[in-house]
């Protein structure tokens, strides 16, 4: 999996993002929560968008990119194409 730095326009101070590529294809967009409004969640990574099974109605926040990678791998492995 590949993580490419990208600035994301979220309308808040959260803009340090990563494009997550799997087999060369975009599967997720992550953003680090830097806005003071997030309180205790500051510093964690948030799933802003996911594609082809990398999604959840209520995705967890990730302490670091390694944790995000593990979760994304799990989503891809468990994905049932319907």
């Amino acid at each position: 999996m590949e993580f490419q730095p990208i600035k994301v326009a979220t309308g808040s101070a959260d803009e340090d993002g990563r494009l997550v590529l799997h087999d060369g294809k975009l599967v997720a967009v992550l953003v680090r929560l830097d806005d003071p409004n997030h309180g205790p969640a500051i510093g964690q990574w948030s799933l802003e968008a996911g594609f082809n099974g990398v999604d959840s109605a209520k995705p967890p926040l990730f302490a670091n990119l390694a944790a995000a990678e593990r979760w994304i791998e799990l989503q891809i492995a468990n994905f049932i194409p319907v």
Binding site: T10, G11, S12, D14, L33, D35, N37, H38, A41, S46, A57, K58, P59, L61
Partner: protein, 220 residues
């Protein structure tokens, strides 16, 4: 009227279930004081809030007709809840004006649910949150718990997220946008709406779906 039939009711702590999802209920619960919400729980533990309850609201009108509750009802704050038996309901419905009030109440419940469905399916995150705030403002005004432009929001960002199908992060950003546009001001749980008409316009909020009828209120 309700007090005459059932007394002060039972006292529930914040977070307690008024009726549990899957349980059968022999009685109808009515919120006398406090706030509650309806919810459904998914197998993985996620929760969807499917309705808010304010004082005077029936939680499970005619619920005794069903084998089991298809959703749960919880106290969001400390609640005082009356319990009406099927006999109480039959007694109430023997008076046409009260029977109409109960029918009206169920029609409004269904109407709110329809509006929430539209809200979740067809509005942006900021407008969804704004719409819920507008609904709370006018519903709390009816029961004397909101001023012309402010009320106390008895919900966390996580509960708002469970209501409008957004993550806490998205709710947080939606609230920030509303604050940034000066559509709301908030300090702690107090929500102040500087220009109510502007927030309603932004949220595409038309209170018609709440079907307020002053004459109905007077009859009941």
């Amino acid at each position: 009227m309700l007090h005459a039939v059932v007394g002060r009711g039972q006292s529930l702590k914040a977070g307690e279930d008024i009726v549990r999802e899957g349980d059968h209920t022999d009685v109808v619960h009515v919120i006398l004081e406090g706030h509650g919400f309806r919810y459904k729980t998914l197998p993985d533990g996620k929760r969807q809030i499917i309705g808010y309850l304010v004082p005077g609201d029936f939680c499970d009108l005619y619920g005794f007709l069903l084998d089991k509750m298809d959703h749960g009802i919880a106290a969001r704050t400390h609640c005082q809840v009356a319990e009406l038996t099927e006999d109480h309901i039959l007694m109430l419905t023997s008076r046409p004006s009260l029977a109409r009030a109960l029918w009206w109440s169920e029609l409004v419940n269904a109407s709110i649910l329809r509006e929430w469905l539209v809200n979740m399916g067809r509005r942006t995150p900021s407008a969804r949150v704004a719409h819920i705030l507008c609904e709370l403002l006018v519903r709390l005004q009816v029961v004397g718990q909101a001023s012309a432009d402010s009320f106390r929001l008895e919900l966390s960002q996580s509960e708002l997220g469970d209501t409008v199908g957004l993550t806490t992060v998205s709710v947080n950003r939606a609230l920030q946008r509303l604050r940034g546009a000066n559509l709301i001001q908030s300090s702690g749980r107090e929500i102040v709406i500087p220009d109510v008409a502007a927030l309603k316009a932004f949220a595409d909020f038309d209170p018609g779906y709440l079907h307020f009828r002053q004459d109905r209120e007077d009859h009941s």
